[in-house]
Amino acid sequence: MPTSWNRLPRVTHARLIELQDRNAGLPDTDSPLLAWGNGRSYGDVCLNDGGTLLLTQGMDRLITFDRNTGVLDCEAGIMLGDILRWCLPQGWMLPVVPGTQWITVGGAIANDVHGKNHHVAGTFGRHVLEMELLRSDGERLLTSPTVNAELFAATIGGLGLTGLITRVRLRMIPANNELMLTEGIPFGHLDAFWELNDRIGGEWPYTVSWIDCVARGRRLGRGVFLAGRHAPPQPAGVRLPQWRDHSRSIPFDLPFSLLNRHSVRGFNALYYRVARSSGRRLQHYQPYFFPLDGIRNWNRVYGRKGFYQYQCVLPREHAREGIRALLRRIATSGQGSFLAVLKTFGDMPSPGLLSFPRPGVTLALDFSNHGSLTHRLFADLDDMVSSAGGALYPGKDARMSVTMFRRGFPQWERFATFVDPAFSSTFWRRMNP
């Protein structure tokens, strides 16, 4: 049963259809369609209750790759991790990777994902040169920034609603090897984060900060600034960091959440202490970009009731006081978990009509599902995000209000004109009651 990553909401689909052949037409069904890649988005953008899910993982072939220019043509169901495995040894890297490699290229486009290099590279969609879109009227349309440009802009960040993405042409970036030069710099409070971010953020192509969302008072917003860049060519004969897939999975849903006030506090304190001593080092790209991929089903630690992720972006002019207010509210609630992430977005415009990243700062945290307690906290956070002129990330959302969506994505009405009439999702119906 396909779910989203936070396992909320639980919905039933009328049909699941595995796609294998990118040249085949859309299946004949009378229920609304939606592509489902690997279910790593949160909430309901990848769900379609009562409808049909088109499972795209069988459409995972590479089509052409130009080893001189780094231009890759591939089917949309291939996962980023599957691309990284062969492209890095050949000297190429994906231009943008989010916090997990287990998402499909189609999903990366549909949510216009961002990575630690947003301030220099922008979103994933910026590196898409061309896409083929299969529409329910039988048309197979080539779209690019110059051909069917409006449909292209609607499809990037378009939550899979503009038709089925079958093939994608991407521009990769060169990389010398599979190594990253990384540095972890601790900061004792929020002001120190801003100072650090302004001072050295621009020197590193990849930056992200982990925040101790439990710390309060003078320590509010303490954390670790994690910076990285691709390593230069390495001298021969030197022992280099290796990586082997030792990933473990949590085989079943725990009956209750392992995360509570005490375990989270302990984890955060420990992480802060360990990260403080990390300094500058060479690291394999896997643990640097995808630390959580080491535990394949980490979502199960939240137990049967599932969890929420809250990810917002605040425009730059209100970022400082906005983030402070959000963190203070979260710290006093005692509900935050160990995955609090703070990252500045750069100025590069996102190409999609519904793209989430915009100049400013984004904060993301996971929360165990404590029912109304959690929802009351979210309502307060929503007020703060709204008054700062911010937005919530649809790809991480299971509960935002229609007003919040429309305010955060003012182009939603224009976007709606590009939605394929045969496509829909639980999220889209929730936003268009």
């Binding site: 049963m1 699941l16 595995e18 069988g58 590479l62 080893r67």
Partner: protein, 252 residues
């Protein structure tokens, strides 16, 4: 002996499990000959494999209708003439028939037996003699846990895979000592297009990549009978132990 073959033919190479297996073998430097019905899907597969290997791999594609039993001995002959160093075969083609249809239509039932058992056995007859003469090689065939005991929900498919299992048992016995390994691969529930109409929920469902890893390992270790994943072995042991007077009442 512990060595993966150097050049492997995969029959039914465009299936999910076979494709994943081909990608793993390729990463280990194995030369591949991929056989399937659709020339277009074969070309898509070989392009994919070639890019993954950085253009270094040797992948040859041969389109053939594996349900045309009369043509299979000649197909094998042409393969051995083109590739004189073949030392591995993976037979992966087959499909899940509609059990209800097979109960009402004997032609549908016979087709299911042909594609899931007779086709592989026809190929194996030619392959076995050839490998026996050369005194080396690994022959792996994808059977199924469904072949371990007949059940009302899919006994036609089960009968075909069961026939294949028995055939492979005998062949393994015959080729023992000849240097040729015969590997029976028995996947359980795998998330592939073949099983899209099932409720695919729960711990028993495996991803095709995991099954492919098991196949690669079974070839390298020249195993006899492998359940994929391993936990199906004790499950099927229990299922086989249930006395028939009890079993016939069950809905498993």
């Amino acid at each position: 002996m512990n060595a993966t073959p150097r050049r492997i033919v995969i029959f039914g190479a465009t299936s999910r499990i076979a494709t994943e297996t081909a990608r793993l073998w390729l990463a280990r430097g194995v030369h591949l000959v991929v056989v399937a019905r659709s020339p277009e899907r074969l070309r898509m597969l070989s392009d994919d494999l070639s890019i993954r290997s950085g253009g270094l791999a040797e992948v040859d594609a041969v389109a053939a209708d594996l349900e045309d039993l009369d043509a299979l001995p000649a197909l094998w002959d042409s393969l051995t003439q083109r590739f004189d160093d073949l030392d591995g075969v993976l037979i992966a083609h087959g499909n899940l028939p509609d059990q209800a249809r097979c109960e009402s239509d004997s032609q549908a039932m016979l087709r299911a037996i042909r594609v899931n058992a007779l086709s592989a056995m026809t190929l194996l007859t030619a392959i076995a003699n050839d490998f026996e003469k050369r005194k080396r090689g690994v022959i792996g065939v994808i059977g199924s846990v469904a072949g371990d005991r007949g059940r009302k929900s899919n006994y036609v498919y089960g009968a075909a895979k069961g026939m294949l299992t028995l055939f492979l048992q005998g062949l393994r016995n015959r080729l023992h000592g000849s240097g040729v390994a015969v590997v029976t691969l028995k996947p359980g529930f795998v998330i592939t297009p073949m099983t899209q109409d099932f409720e695919r929920d729960g711990l028993l469902w495996a991803r095709p990549e995991a099954v492919a890893r098991g196949i690669v390992q079974a070839f390298a270790r020249r195993r006899d009978v492998v359940y994929l994943p391993w936990f199906w072995r004790p499950i099927l042991w229990v299922i086989r132990m249930i006395p028939e007077p009890v079993f016939k009442r069950l809905s498993l």
